[in-house]
């Protein structure tokens, strides 16, 4: 479904990505791991069109998308969340949700002014869908609260529900479990699994938490210094010599830097 080929990207003199490649099959959950600064988020930004690449290709559903602006990519069914949970703080939970639906007639000035009937019909349908997603993610009771007033964990859930409402086929999650408590993590994983099985969504997840990876991912790709060094099933990857070496080496470097 998603094929990423040999992506290069540098910022100033720093090479963030040097030939990163990966593949995501339809209906699977793929984990992307790697030490800090290995370029995971940059790769996400390149795939989702938030950051132009230097070279390489991204194909989605057999089409090249690496030249498209981010909103076009999203319109084709590839959506993403952000590492720090970004929510429009001054909008309520329901506003956040209703914002997500595609093809809204009332989202233009003309539609807003002259097609009130069809707009409100569409709003009713979307509202119903939105409420059922919120129900599933346990946010229904906060429907009229400002997103900025939610707890960090709830904001993450909201980001996820909003993405789901935009009916994507492939969802890129950037560290979905960072900074939320363990019960919520379990809940979240269940939901991801649920959407994979019931709604046949595909996921690509950047994650630090090994538990998450081994629990839900069908495949894992390891990125080290901007290059993918291994891809495979989670059990295999966890035993892979190269991965362990690279990971441990990088971890040691990291902790050394922290000490300085």
């Amino acid at each position: 479904m998603l094929v990423v080929k040999e992506i290069h990207k540098s910022f100033g003199g720093v090479k963030a990505l040097r030939g990163a490649s990966l593949k995501v099959e339809r209906g699977s959950i793929v984990g992307l791991i790697g030490p800090n600064g290995s370029g995971k988020t940059t790769l996400f930004n390149v795939i989702s069109g938030f950051c132009p690449k230097d070279s390489g290709q991204v194909h989605f559903k057999g089409e090249r998308i690496d030249h498209l602006p981010s909103y076009e990519i999203a319109m084709r069914g590839l959506s993403r969340t952000f590492q720090t949970s970004r929510v429009p703080r001054g909008m309520t939970v329901l506003e956040n949700m209703l914002l997500a639906y595609k093809g809204q007639i009332g989202e233009g000035v003309f539609g807003a002014l002259f097609r009130g009937g069809r707009t409100s019909k569409q709003e009713k349908v979307n509202l119903k869908k939105a409420l059922s997603i919120l129900e599933l993610l346990g946010l229904r009771n906060s429907r009229d609260e400002y997103a900025g007033d939610l707890s960090g964990g709830q904001q993450r859930l909201l980001s996820l529900s909003r993405i789901l409402a935009s009916s994507p086929e492939l969802i890129l999650l950037d560290e979905p479990t960072a900074g939320i408590n363990l019960t919520l993590v379990t809940e979240l994983l269940k939901l991801i699994k649920h959407f994979q099985v019931e709604e046949s969504k595909t996921f690509l997840i950047v994650e630090h938490n090994m538990r998450v990876i081994s629990e839900i991912c069908d495949m894992v790709c390891v990125l080290v210094s901007g290059k993918d060094i291994a891809c495979g099933e989670p059990e295999k990857i966890q035993k892979d010599e190269r991965v362990l070496k690279a990971y441990l080496g990088a971890v040691q470097r990291d902790s050394k830097e922290d000490l300085e």
Partner: protein, 311 residues
């Protein structure tokens, strides 16, 4: 004397009404979409000048300007707001994609360049003399003081229509989308929203409101001169919006009335000509201080943005 008061009040309320339409346009740009247009007065000026030029009789041989299309007044007013919208499109193309600070500077600069154009291009604008003694809508049907009340009636009708249109736009999914763009651009992009187009639409609609207000203002004062469109007028809209409450159309209305009340009553302070200028400077000081105070102690304005609920 009572009659004079009523007349004064009719004039003040008419002015406030024109400011309301003007400020509603800034509210859609800034209050909803977050576009900090620091040259907002430019669109007010374009509306005023374009409407006047379109409906001016063809000039005789003894005047400096050479343009005048002799259209009916209402056509001039529509043309005025369309012209303002068109210029918003031109300004929006290069500036809406680059950062916020650049947008601020370019709009600000545009309003000043426009003023130089109004002063210097005599063939189009008659220079610093401008156009005066303009005809007022349905002017021939009413005598002197009765006309002021009729004009007030016209303005009230215009304000109600403008408010209803704006409310419809802002309560729609488009209103929600504008707020989304204001609050968080990356999220909107990730949801497949073309934020550039959203900004452009809001910018153009706001400019058209300013243009319409400008065309009314020209008829209110019965003249247009470049001096009327100094940056202070951009500041008027901003101050009214900040006082009333950004992102709230009712707030824009309230803010304008408060501003006009404060502004018009300072006119009652009697002063000799020598002190008139100094009093004007004092007024600028008070308005500046008011903005600082509102931003600091009443950042959301008097009427906060309304929470939107669905059922």
């Amino acid at each position: 004397m009572g009659g004079d008061w009523a007349l004064f009040l009719a004039g003040a309320v008419s002015l406030a009404g024109i400011y309301v339409i003007y400020t509603l346009g800034l509210n859609i740009q800034f209050g909803f979409t977050g576009l900090a247009n620091l040259g907002y007065v430019a669109f007010f000026a374009i509306g005023a000048y374009a409407s006047v030029i379109l409906s001016m009789p063809r000039p005789g041989p003894d005047v400096a300007y050479i343009v005048g299309y002799g259209l009916p007044m209402w056509a001039g007013m529509i043309g005025g707001s369309l012209a303002a919208g068109f210029f918003a499109l031109l300004i929006g193309i290069p500036t809406l994609k680059i950062g916020e600070d650049y947008f601020v500077v370019v709009t600000f600069a545009f309003s000043e360049v426009l003023r130089y154009v109004l002063i210097n291009e005599k063939w189009l604008t008659n220079g610093t003399t401008g156009f005066y003694g303009l005809e007022r809508p349905f002017g021939k049907f009413f005598s002197g003081r009765n006309y002021e009340f009729f004009f007030l009636f016209l303005i009230v009708v215009a304000v109600i229509i403008a408010y209803l249109v704006m409310r419809k736009i802002c309560n729609s999914p488009f209103g929600r989308l504008m707020k989304g763009v204001r609050e968080n651009e990356p999220v909107c992009l990730a949801l497949g929203k073309n934020i550039y187009r959203v900004k452009m639409k809001a910018f153009i609609v706001g400019a058209m409101f300013a243009g319409f207000a400008g065309s009314l203002y020209a008829r209110y004062t019965t003249l247009v001169v470049p001096e009327m469109f100094i940056p202070y007028f951009t500041f008027v809209a901003w101050l009214s919006l900040m006082i009333g409450g950004r992102g709230n159309n009712k707030g824009a209305i309230l803010g304008c009335f408060i501003f006009v009340l404060a502004d018009q009553f300072t006119l009652f302070v009697q002063a000799s000509a020598a002190y008139a200028v100094r009093l004007a400077s004092l007024r600028a000081f008070i308005m500046g201080a008011l903005l600082i105070i509102v931003l600091r102690w009443l950042p959301a304005g008097i009427l906060k943005e309304k929470k939107v609920t669905y059922r």
